[in-house]
Every structure is written in structure tokens, then in C-alpha cells.
Symmetry: C2
């Protein structure tokens, strides 16, 4: 088992990527309650403007972003969901906490408008200045799961 | 406009991250048809084993992975969806093509089992040896969108 573990760790590569855009909105600090109605602009690298063509044929998009206020590295392996100490500690991969080994966020948001290299979206839970890593169309069936089961603590306040 | 564009580009950071696990399955080359029934193991860095606790309380998980056969950099801004030349070129951000500026894949998969640092999942569309960047619980409502609209070409064969 120890050998198997070491073998995996040796294979884990370091990955380098460059942000493709930046989030612009009125939210300067996280967390807030009720991201659902927040309207944000995603300002995309102008050299990638053409890569956004056809995106506005979709009502919803998936945004992958870098939660830059949280450093990668050695976060705690267990956290209280939503910082609520009344909920017992859970493995961080079982939560959406930004305190995770790679602080990449993933949001499904409504695309309100695309103008040139700027996307206007609703419901993106990322603060002003957040780097965007990737933008994808949301495809029901591929991105959604019917009758998914979740534990009660994930939705408890 | 040129100044605005230059400003955005100057702000786009380079991001470094380390894979947290590796995909193990029988698929040595992409693409294949019908990933839906492919069973894969995700072998996670043993130092992160505890971070997987509670994940098996969810029926489905989201896997972010690095499509390592596709280099980041300057891919085409337009592609034929699924490589099908009968479908006109589309902006790459409007497709799920791996030929994208940051080749990060995002899959929603069924979690069949968790044993120590190994997750067994069904439907992960990643080949053997793919580095995994992040693992998240799938949360209906947050990760799904009701009545999402997509263009016809996204599902055409």
C-alpha cells in the first residue's frame, strides 16, 4: 500500500494555465448571501473574442474560476460546511469550500448577454477581480444528473 | 478599446496547480463513443485521503480534470463540434472541445464506491492517466439549471 501511494504521488503533475478573463461586479468581499441575483461581467481576453461566438445560443453557461483569495497548497482536509460550526467537520472534497487543494470554483449561471469579448451573467458566486479559467456551454443531461442524492447537511443552514 | 483590451490582458494571471489524483481505466485513447458506462478509478494523493470523507453520501460528483493530451496555448478559436465537419465552425467556448485555451474537462459522474483514497465512478469521459484537478459534490439546483436552452447542433450527430 505504501508503495502504491508513493507511485501515485510521483505521477501527479504540476499544471500551469493562464486566465482567459476576469470577473467584474460590485462584490468586493466574500462570502455574501444570495449570489443568485448578482449580475457580473466576464471580460475575456480580447484575443479570444471569436472563441465566444455561438455561446449566446445557450441560456446557461458553466464558468470555472480561480478563487484567488485562497492559496493552493495544504488547506485543512476537513471543514465545517459554509463555515457553520454547528455542522460537524466534513471532508473538504465533500463540500464546496474554497479552502481546497486547488481553489477552482465551478458555477452554472444564466447568460444574459454577450457583446464582443464581454459576457453578462447572473448568479456567478465570484467576487470582483476573480480570474476565469474556462467557459463552457451548459448541456442538460450531460451536466445534470436525474434523481441525485445528497445528504441533509449540504442544504442545512 | 485597445487600451481597455490591453488592460484586461495585463491582469490575466498565470496559475499553477498540482493534480490531486489520476484516472485509471481501460481507455487508452480518446475519443470513444459511449463513455456513459465506462467505469474508472480515481486514485487520489494518499495525503488527501481524509479530504474524501463524506463524499460517498452523494450519489454524483463533479470531476475537474486536465486533458493532458491537449496542450494549452493557442488552439483554434473555432472548431467543428465533435470534430464533425458537417457541422459549421463554432466558437470553441461554445463547445466542449478539448482544444481550448485551458484544456480543463468537467464531468458529472455517478460515484459507485469510495475505498480509502480510491473513488470508483461511472461515466467519466477521461482516458487512463488523466490528472484530476478537483473533486466536488454534485448539488442539484446549484449545479443544474431548469429549462436550459441549447442550440440544435450541440446534440446533432
Amino acid at each position: 500500500m505504501i508503495n502504491a501511494g508513493a507511485k501515485v504521488d510521483n505521477e501527479l503533475p504540476t499544471i500551469s494555465l493562464k486566465a482567459v478573463g476576469i470577473v467584474r461586479n460590485e462584490i468586493k468581499q466574500s462570502p455574501i448571501q444570495g449570489w443568485g441575483k448578482v449580475v457580473s461581467e466576464i471580460v475575456v481576453d480580447p484575443s479570444l473574442t471569436e472563441a465566444l461566438d455561438n455561446l449566446d445560443e445557450f441560456s446557461h453557461i458553466i464558468v470555472l474560476y480561480w478563487m484567488h483569495q485562497h492559496s493552493p497548497g495544504q488547506p485543512p482536509t476537513k471543514v465545517h460546511p459554509r463555515g457553520n460550526r454547528e455542522v460537524p467537520l466534513k471532508g473538504v472534497f465533500a463540500t464546496r469550500s474554497p479552502n481546497r487543494p486547488n481553489p477552482v470554483g465551478k458555477a452554472t449561471v444564466r447568460l444574459l448577454q454577450r457583446q464582443s469579448n464581454i459576457l453578462t451573467v447572473e448568479g456567478l458566486d465570484a467576487i470582483d477581480g476573480t480570474p476565469v479559467i474556462d467557459i463552457k456551454p451548459y448541456i442538460p443531461g450531460y451536466d445534470s444528473a436525474d434523481s441525485a442524492r445528497v445528504p441533509q447537511w449540504i442544504t442545512e443552514e
